[in-house]
Symmetry: C2
Subunit: 470 residues, 2 copies
């Protein structure tokens, strides 16, 4: 019995398109929502009660095969019964209504909840710190990195000097030092102020915000298909690594950590080679900086392994791995005890995470492992990729740089330009498929982890139908 | 029938202290929790299943009257049945398991959920933007303020220049301008990077973090009791307002917004007069800056009004009011349509809030209004304050600068020094009362909104017993 048959006996067989896009009820709802909120980015208003498995239903009764899944954030399909059971549990109800300040007054089940997240920790990681979103997770990881970096200079157990404790209250050094996080062109790490300073994908994410003057390096831009361009891509790795080395050498402020996505997601599904990532790891060690792997979008099974960077076996493992989205809870994994600051209350806040979301995260992790969903994703991804390769040959004007081979369903391709890409995504909705874009000219597949061959067939048929009409 | 009798028919009659503090089971649980988390700040490990109303129970079976309430965050008592009903609802279950990207794919009930938060908006505010924590709410408010400030220079509907869109990707001006938020000494606004730059309460919150070099002003330090020091306190207001004026005149970077708590909470329950806050409002208008009122700790009834700044009737009302904690959901209220950025996706992120927490927030707001809890808090606060005044005369060495008259149960006082304060808080736990500190030498009362005269009597008896032993 397939996992969808088990979870979703009533999953629709196919998309149903009843109205033009967006439908009249959706349009009315958007207008009304616009009175109390910024409804300009709304695609359609959903009926989550009726959504099921891989299908999202809108208020007009249109039923879409959803390969965007809430910006890559729905792990196990809509209205998953295993998660509903957890949501109905007394533990969840208490986590909702008796939300503790976890750092000061944890509950008797807090350790078990944390263990739920640790059970699926990336290889080499055995501790976790909880946050509330991907951006929050990254910023808390930055805080840990800066504290770690200064503790290496000062000595882990050394006291702060009075000059430090005094100057910090004025936002001045030495208490508030000039330190940097190195990130990559086209990276996306979030939209709070420190994370926005490391995000380099689109101006709209950053305009008008004061920023930390942190440096950037270049992420490799490979030629596809990869097997046909081994030499050029090796040269590209070398070029980009030299820029990282330069960033360390010419840094105005010391670089405490290098921050990277194993696959740049929002920035266009840009892949990096094993040797690039290993060389980056080596550079951080050489310069005494941490390596933070941002798995907010790539984590929790979507690439055919639980964590995308586990495809690369880099050694030693990253110092921190941040997560959110499909895990529905957020935070960072780590292993070095000295990443815990020397004194209590340095890494702290009122809630220290949300036990309701952590409980759900643990349940998601357990379901993914129990049903070996990364293997399913790898198998279906392979099936899907092969069909897309065929389509790419048939429609070379519309499927450029197909990427994501051997990376599960984490697949993307590019169009000639943004307007064509946007038209394609709109036309695909008319065929009952909800797909998302990335970068300026690309589309990304981000289905759930319970996306099966039968769903891939429907997707391929819709893509083919749209492209055939061009 | 009292509200507690209605909500909590089985609420304990009094604290029960069975073990030394912390108890042996709590100590074991902390040791075990320390293996997977930073357990150094843990006071005790709670049993939320057994906690009830104003009483928190620990794993050793000790039952504390809780006047700290998860760092001022439990609004309606532990295991409140009205909230449990909401937590068990199908809407909540879907909000948990089908968490939408609210900006792109809101659900059919999203508008209703937002309206739940708007029903209790501060006077003069009619829009809300959702966040995930108090720090997140403040940072999103900063983003809105910076975008608003630049749109006033550029013209609301003006396009970005190519120089702006290019320079911002390098974290350089003009796309990433030098702009500032002005905050106050002893303020606490959160611990992310931008909020940490505005937080000025303790070095431990900020050490080793790079910061924005934003300026600070001085928050009034009044002499208590207020009626005996009218003249000096007026002079103090003037002194502090002059510093704010200077900050605008001498600002290296333009100040886009002034950020203030109506009562500085973490920083020591420092109060400000109506005329100080009105003058501050006038200064922001004069200089074309926004006024952001941080009601993360003061909001949702604790001062005897739903929002603390409503005690002051400042006109025009603040431009943004941030909230979190007792509301269990977070965000900012506002009213000026131009605080919504001119282009979609500027204020945006994957989740745009958490509908589960927003649903709970709406339910909390509705219960507070339905039961007129601010009136209860005002009445009980008055009762409690009068008893503390008597104690302050009896124990002048241990109750300095009692403050919070006419501010509900939002009451604090100071000790001679930190060690005495810490001893008092520890001794109070032995009497079955869980109280929290603030600043270096003060204690703060932050009970739930269903704290009644009978609870105040127990609190007063415990305080008296401890002080009598000194």
């Amino acid at each position: 019995m397939s996992i969808c048959a088990k979870y979703f006996p009533n999953e629709p067989e196919a998309p149903v398109v009843k109205t033009a896009f967006p439908g009249p009820k959706s349009q009315d709802a958007v207008k009304s929502l616009g009175q109390v909120s910024d409804a300009r980015p709304v695609y359609f208003v959903a009926d989550y009660e009726k959504s099921n498995g891989n299908y999202i239903v809108d208020v007009d009764g249109n039923t879409y095969l959803d390969v965007y899944a809430q910006i890559a954030s729905i792990p196990l399909g809509y209205n998953n019964p295993a998660l509903a059971e957890v949501a109905r549990s007394d533990k969840m109800i208490r986590a909702i209504i008796d939300r503790p300040a976890l750092g000061n007054f944890p509950g008797k089940d807090t350790e078990e909840i944390i263990q739920g997240l640790l059970k699926v920790a990336p290889k080499g990681q055995d501790k976790v710190w909880s946050a509330l979103s991907g951006a929050d997770a990254n910023e808390l990881a930055f805080k840990a990195a800066f504290m770690w970096y200064q503790s290496r200079r000062r000595g882990y157990n050394a006291d702060f000097t009075s000059e430090e404790t005094k100057s910090v209250m004025e936002n001045q050094k030495p208490g508030s030092p000039d330190l940097a996080i190195l990130s990559f062109e086209r990276a996306f790490h979030g939209r709070l102020f420190a994370t926005a300073s490391t995000t380099r994908s689109k101006p709209i994410h950053k305009l008008d915000l004061p920023s930390f003057k942190w440096p950037k390096a270049q992420f490799p831009s490979y030629k596809y298909p990869l097997p046909d361009h081994v030499k050029e891509n090796e040269e590209e790795d070398k070029r980009c690594l030299a820029i990282v080395e330069d960033a360390f050498k010419n840094a105005v402020a010391p670089i405490a950590a290098v921050l990277i996505e194993p696959i740049q997601s929002e920035g266009g599904d840009n892949h990096a080679s094993q040797s690039f990532l290993q060389a980056l790891r080596d550079i951080t060690i050489k310069h005494g900086a941490l390596l933070i792997m941002d798995e907010v979008q790539t984590g929790v099974g979507a690439t055919g392994k639980f964590w995308a960077h586990e495809h690369f076996n880099i050694t030693p493992p990253p110092d921190m791995v941040t997560f959110s989205k499909k895990f529905q809870s957020a935070g960072y994994y780590f292993h070095d005890p000295e990443i815990i600051p020397n004194v209590a209350y340095r890494q702290f806040n009122t809630w220290c995470g949300d036990p309701a979301r952590m409980l759900l995260g643990g349940a998601i992790g357990a379901e993914v492992v129990k049903n070996d969903l990364p293997a399913l994703v790898a198998r279906v991804g392979d099936y899907l990729y092969k069909k897309l390769e065929v389509l790419a040959k048939e429609y070379p004007d519309y499927i450029h740089n197909l990427r994501g081979k051997d990376r599960g369903t984490f697949i993307a391709w590019s169009f000639k330009d943004a307007s064509l890409r946007n038209k394609f995504l709109a036309d695909l909705k008319k065929e009952g498929v909800n797909m998302g874009g990335c970068a300026e000219d690309s589309v990304r597949l981000r289905p759930t982890l319970v996306f099966e061959e039968k769903h891939a067939d429907i997707l391929i048929a819709a893509v083919k139908k749209v492209l055939a009409s061009y």
